[in-house]
Amino acid sequence: MIGPLAAGAGRKGFLLLRRGGGLWGIASSAVDSLSRRGGAYRIGVGENAILADEIIGVVDDLLVRPSAGVLGRFWCEPAAGLAIHGELPLVVLDPRHPPGVLRPADDDSNEGDRSA
């Protein structure tokens, strides 16, 4: 689906995406919109937006593990946790604080979406 999404609060599962060579997940309930921007995707998350190089799909559930501890010493970004999809490890995003690699540059953040 491209464009405004149905009310997010009741949506289950996680949207999986790739960005910057990494695999990421975000709770579907936090996603407000999805639009295409050239070769990438812009995902509206409340007042924030995140970018994706590729949308992998939606999974019903993920077993999310805490991401504190040693990882936090070497990767200083907020996250909701870690999970495995298939055999692929991924970071589950905190929708309020997406890592820098997923955030649009300032000059992109206020542009209108160009739904595909």
Partner: protein, 162 residues
């Protein structure tokens, strides 16, 4: 099924008279691994598994010591570059790279971490009295094993807040 590696102890005594020796019966207390140009000794009690190098997925924005995330036993596993952790110059392309899955951190809050290394060598005895020049951090100190100086690691320190 993953490729779990067998790390045989060397035959022969190899004792050097200072309390540290290559083990002759597989009864050593440390696993020796090559990381860059250095050899490290990891406490066996903290080693859960030695595997052929796991596939690692980079984590954008991480520090150089973190190679990325891997999957181990169905769980996400941070994998650290052991050579970088100990400040070793990188070696040429390793012939037999491994991931050593270890417990780090204090006993009441330990967690699993993967250490990417060039190879797993052998099991050896390292007595506490033979360790010198420790700084109390991740590198507990150095010990002589035969003609070689190895860096003895303190894995509990890796889990501490820096």
């Amino acid at each position: 099924m993953r490729d779990q590696l067998e790390i045989p102890a060397l035959s022969g005594n190899g004792g050097n008279g200072n309390g540290t020796r290559r083990t002759s019966r597989g009864m050593g207390n440390h696993l020796l691994v090559k990381a860059g140009e250095y050899v490290c000794a990891l406490p066996l009690v903290s080693v859960r598994r030695v595997l052929r190098s796991l596939t690692v997925h980079p984590l954008p924005g991480s520090s150089p010591e973190l190679k990325g995330l891997a999957e181990f036993a169905g769980e996400p596993l941070p994998v650290l570059d052991l050579a970088r952790l100990i400040g070793s110059p990188p070696s040429a392309t390793p012939a037999f790279p491994v991931t050593i899955v270890v417990w780090v951190g204090p006993a009441d809050a330990r967690e699993l971490v993967g250490l990417a290394a060039d190879s797993a060598l052998e099991v050896a005895d390292v007595s506490p009295g033979s360790i010198v020049a420790g700084d109390g951090g991740f590198i507990r100190g150095e010990a002589a094993i035969g003609q070689e100086v190895v860096r003895v690691l303190h894995l509990e320190a890796l889990g501490r807040e820096s």
